[in-house]
Symmetry: C2
Subunit: 318 residues, 2 copies
């Protein structure tokens, strides 16, 4: 348990904060040098390292009324680990950057750290190091960079989808978006499990290496929405992706009690789901994956042949 600590960062020192953070962090035998020096040193037995980075920003990716520090820690780890899984790899270690206004409480920082440590420990991921920076009040950013390895399989990129492949997902669609809508509407009691998933999405990370081993031709994780992320595979591979309303209906049905007519928007455009999206030759779809469409001639994402506009999150204006 974290002792309550209502002090702000302005009332503590970097050194004191780090002293309470370091002992909680998980490690593993491949970590030759861990937290506390200029850099960490991590063994890479396969001779090649996967690397990715993803951030969460207060006021955009979370608000304190809806998410605890531990929720934020879990979520930002999951986002990064899903990106590693989306190449067919397994994460070995992360570095964490916290940029926080001096008005941030020490308790929040400790909760964040517990969330990061717990989420990493659950996947045998080491926290290798990090960086603390002060910022103007009201600013809080958590950035993680994750390192991983392929363990013998080839990296699965976005550009290998071929006409005739099937399109499949490793898990749910739209749950995170549906949970967010309940928070926004103040009706969280309609489906607390969706709200919980929005706060701490759980990614089925083993599906990534499974897909690689099975021969997936393209693979990524759904962070910005099925249509938008599907378009990324379509563009990179020079193909079209035709989603099937029939195949997607069960995903929408599961959300209808909670969000009614918004269920389809959640399924098609909901981000932060971290389900994996892949294309496979017809006969090799691994267990636990669900078919949602087909790779076709073309250059965009369609639903039963109909073009889909937008369909997800863009960070800026467009």
């Amino acid at each position: 348990m974290i002792p309550p600590d209502g002090r702000t960062l302005a009332q503590t020192s970097e050194q004191e904060l780090l002293a309470s953070i370091f002992p909680v962090l998980p490690t593993r035998p491949e970590v030759l040098i861990g937290v506390g020096d200029d850099t960490a040193l991590l063994q890479v037995p396969s001779g090649a390292v996967l690397v990715t980075t993803d951030s969460m920003v207060l006021g955009r990716d979370w608000i304190d009324d809806w998410s605890t520090g531990a929720d934020v820690g879990h979520k930002v780890v999951t986002q990064n680990l899903a990106d590693i899984a989306a190449m067919g790899g397994v994460c070995t270690g992360v570095v964490v950057s916290l940029i926080a206004g001096r008005d941030t409480t020490v308790a929040w920082c400790r909760e964040l750290n517990e969330g990061i440590a717990d989420a990493c420990r659950a996947e045998n991921v080491a926290v290798l190091g990090g960086d603390l920076s002060s910022a103007p009040d009201d600013v809080r950013v958590v950035s993680i960079t994750a390192l991983g390895e392929l363990n013998g399989s080839s990296a699965v990129r976005r550009d290998g989808a071929r006409v005739g492949d099937v399109v499949a997902v490793s898990d749910s669609l739209g749950r995170s978006d549906a949970g967010l809508r309940l928070l926004q509407a103040g009706t969280t009691d309609r489906a607390p499990e969706l709200v919980a998933f929005h706060r701490r999405p759980v990614a089925r990370l083993a599906a990534g290496p499974d897909a690689a081993a099975a021969g997936a031709t393209a693979l990524m994780d759904i962070s910005d929405g099925l249509v938008r992320d599907g378009r990324r595979i379509a563009t990179a591979s020079g193909v079209g992706i035709d989603l099937s309303r029939e195949l997607l209906t069960p995903f929408a049905r599961r959300l209808e009690t909670a969000v009614g007519d918004d269920a389809w928007a959640c399924v098609l455009s909901g981000g932060e789901e971290h389900t994996l999206l892949a294309t496979f030759p017809d006969d090799v779809v691994p267990q636990g994956w669900s078919l949602v469409g087909r790779v076709v001639e073309g250059s965009d994402v369609t639903l039963d042949g109909q073009p889909q506009q937008g369909g997800g999150w863009d960070h800026f204006g467009g």
Copy 2:
């Protein structure tokens, strides 16, 4: 040259911005998968990777009146590369995270990118990937995670300094702090070269592997000030460090014309210098390094035997 682009991020799209950023980025043969997929994949011939992260925050680490986007890009790369050098290593690749309010101009983002790309190219460092996130207006954070290798030498940590070792620095002291003081005083014409160094510190990165090869017993880079960072070596090694006023006098002299009586404060406490600080057995100090003191019995940093309070930058209150 960057075409002027006064549009803000609210008036562009993530995709459009990325399309202008990607072509500028340097790569190298070890990059098996670069920007544009879920993760990058980098060969690590030595079988172990160094990893570090460091950030710059608008309003704390820079203000737009004093630094261009390109200045910020150069500086944040240098900070990270100096951390790799401070283990005795060489940087191979970086990932970049930009968190920016929608009020940020496209032109600024492009300048930042040019600065990062130029600084990396100069050191044969690949930009492996990154992350763009929107943020509330007035927020801008640039985080870099750098990967590197040791190329056969052993990592030099902070905890190996032994009583009787000499203490040496690889380059200047206090230049960045002196430059900042001139900016704050509006007297930049007194020493434009110090102001330029504050905006774009140049680190003698080869000094890190040189020190490792020569047998340095402890090594780090001066990012928070000579006394504060020296204390980190002292604490980790369980020794004292006694700095010599006589040996430091030439460093202060060089700053006196510009900042007068503040010269000693710059030398002892000035951060963001990214000069390397090392301890060596007496007889092995490499060429180009300057002696500044001795490792002694004790537990803190002294100047001619006198205790030094504070002596540098703490991110928070303490």
